[in-house]
């Protein structure tokens, strides 16, 4: 969901140079992926949950795992709340938000119940199918004002940092690699594909950022709430007045993979920490998600969610994962 509005957030710092921050964040995440792969290779057969217990002991390990659970729930709640907000605002103003939330949560539950193979399939197709939306960026690029990128690099380092901070939430969801790594069949190939995945993500976001920076000027970007959706409105077809409806409903595919992974991860964490079965864990997590996404209604609440998620994902990617790698390194050298 961050993809729909990240332009507005990242221009707050480095303005028209914010694409550089986005690129740098994308590049730095290759290192984070390398850390993750290193951690998982050292963890042996188990996933990150058993590693937590090995590293921090039973109680502290469960506590760290619970934080991971909170993070996963925060991700899926933010996704569902902001998607329902967009649907309410753009398409169905009179529909009850709770019914949309329930529908989304049930879809995710159903997909997750299919197991990791189904989720893997969803992750694949839900990246491939929405890719056709990238073609629509042709129009903003065609009408782009390329002078918007000049003068290059006339901002302070602090401004770039603010923009970088705002572009981190675009990449959340990659931490679940720590949970599903044991399920990957060809582990030796996993690293290469993980790096390629990050590269692909960075390139897609760069493309969206560059098209919106070329099409809108900075003052506009600060006003437009969902620049990516407004970009989609440029497409006008004689038989279709509102292309953005296609865009919004295809976005359902875009949020599905991360929601499925988060819920699946959540139910696994519950099993490892509290000891409930995966089935109850799944329903319990789904209930939490449903209740919270109804509670967090309205633009201020959704913004607050995104704000927390922003800090949580920075903490997870640049704090937790490197620390975990450090812990693994220390344990290895002590042995």
């Amino acid at each position: 969901m961050a993809t729909l509005s990240f332009q507005r957030h990242i221009v707050g710092g480095a303005g028209h140079d914010a694409w550089l921050s986005l690129l740098l964040v994308g590049l730095s995440l290759h290192l984070v992926v390398w850390f993750m792969v290193y951690v998982m290779r050292e963890a042996g057969e188990g996933d990150v949950l058993s590693l937590h217990r090995q590293l921090f002991g039973r109680w502290l390990g469960s506590l760290v795992s619970s934080c991971f659970y909170g993070y996963a729930m925060l991700i899926i709640i933010t996704q569902i709340s902001s998607y329902v907000e967009v649907i309410n605002l753009w398409v169905f103003p009179y529909t009850n938000p709770w019914s949309l939330c329930l529908f989304l949560v049930l879809t995710v539950v159903y997909l997750v119940a299919g197991g990791i193979r189904v989720i893997a399939g969803i992750c694949f197709w839900c990246v491939v199918i929405p890719s056709f939306l990238l073609l629509t960026l042709y129009f903003p690029l065609k009408h782009g004002h390329w002078l918007n990128f000049l003068p290059m690099f006339n901002h302070d380092a602090g401004d770039y940092l603010i923009s970088a901070k705002q572009s981190v939430p675009l990449f959340f969801g990659m931490e679940f690699f720590l949970l599903y790594y044991p399920f990957i069949k060809h582990k030796e190939k996993a690293h290469r594909w993980a790096q390629l995945g990050i590269l692909h993500t960075t390139l897609v976001y760069m493309l969206i950022a560059v098209s919106s920076f070329a099409y809108f000027n900075q003052a506009q970007l600060k006003q437009v709430l969902w620049p990516t959706l407004t970009l989609s409105k440029i497409v006008s077809l004689p038989f279709l007045e509102r292309f953005e409806y296609i865009y919004i409903f295809t976005w359902f595919f875009v949020i599905m993979p991360v929601c499925c992974l988060a819920l699946w991860g959540g139910s696994r964490i519950l099993r490892a920490t509290v000891g409930v079965s995966v089935r109850y864990g799944l329903w319990l997590s789904a209930a939490i998600v449903f209740v919270c996404s109804i509670l967090f209604r309205g633009p201020i609440e959704v913004d607050a969610l995104q704000h927390w998620l922003n800090y949580a994902s920075i903490g997870a990617m640049y704090g937790y994962i490197p620390l975990l790698a450090l812990g693994v390194l220390i344990r290895k050298s002590l042995r």
């Binding site: 009179y94 529909t95 949309l100 329930l102 049930l106 000049l150 003068p151 006339n154 506009q220 007045e241």
Partner: protein, 364 residues
Amino acid sequence: MRINTKAYFWIFVAIALPILLFTGSDDHQKVDDIQILSILGFDVAEGAGMKGAGFHTDYSHQSKPTVLHAEAKKTKLILDQMNRQSSMPVEIGKLSLLLISKPLAERGIDEIVRSLCMDPLIDNIMLAVSEEPVEKVMEKLESKESHFLPLLLEQNMLHSELPPSNLRFFLYDYAGNGRDASVPYLAFTEKDEAIVQGYAVFDEDRLKLILDVQEMYALKVLQGQSMVGLVSFPLERGGMRDIALFRGYNGSRTRELDTSGDTPRITYHIQLRGAIKDYPKWVTYRDRSDQEYIRRELEEYLEQQLQRLLKKFQSKGVDPLGIGDYVRAYDRHWEERAFYAEEYPKLPYEVDVKLKLTEGGIDR
């Protein structure tokens, strides 16, 4: 995971399907059951209020166009009043023209832009300023097809001197730093026919300047997107005076910024391809020296016209060409207020027009 997937499928179907069926049903609207406004106009009213007039075709009564009138303080209240006068919900999703009367445009249109133009439903529309009160415009349009005015504007953008514009151009110029918005200016002839009378230039949200047709073409050329249009220019030789007509087909515009001096210096290079459509009797167009003479005269005339327009913008303090934005791109410490207070009014311009004349007339 050992979960019975089949059971989940049925749970999904049992709960999700009713949600889709029951919650979706109160939201759909058939075109026969709504009134789709195609033109919406705003005018000044007593005090700080606004008058609004919406033009729509009532498809249930043999496509008879009807006009709804309302008066309120806010745009959305006007729409609500229209709704209360109507047997079916009034929808603005397919609006194609937003008309603003001259007095309202002079008073300021920020409210309309913020409440209406930012509405996600509004899309692909045109904006225009009207000389006549909006109520009168709608009355005069009642004999016409509901998309007459938008089509008239579109046609003129493609085939006459009217520069291309729509809501997206407008919002880009309106919001952006270092640029001002501009929209077509409509009037009515003595025979009550709508006509593109000129081009309205805004300063912030207020109408500041109205360009005539010749200036409008100069603006179109300086914008550089399309150069279609007709120019009449004077010819004088050996005591004989007449005017000749030139029709621009296409061309290119490049800008050059020279920042070596104290103040930046902007040069416009225009390459224009077109044809002489009408010329005095005493000129032989098939004669090389005469053709050269016309070309030189026209180049000079156009350069003067463009210069004059640029000077006019400077003296009025408006910037529909985005000169400020252009200078910003090459100035690492550009500041909007300082630029327009100090640099913009005395910015030196150079205009260099290169013409390429194609065909001539069919006689001589």
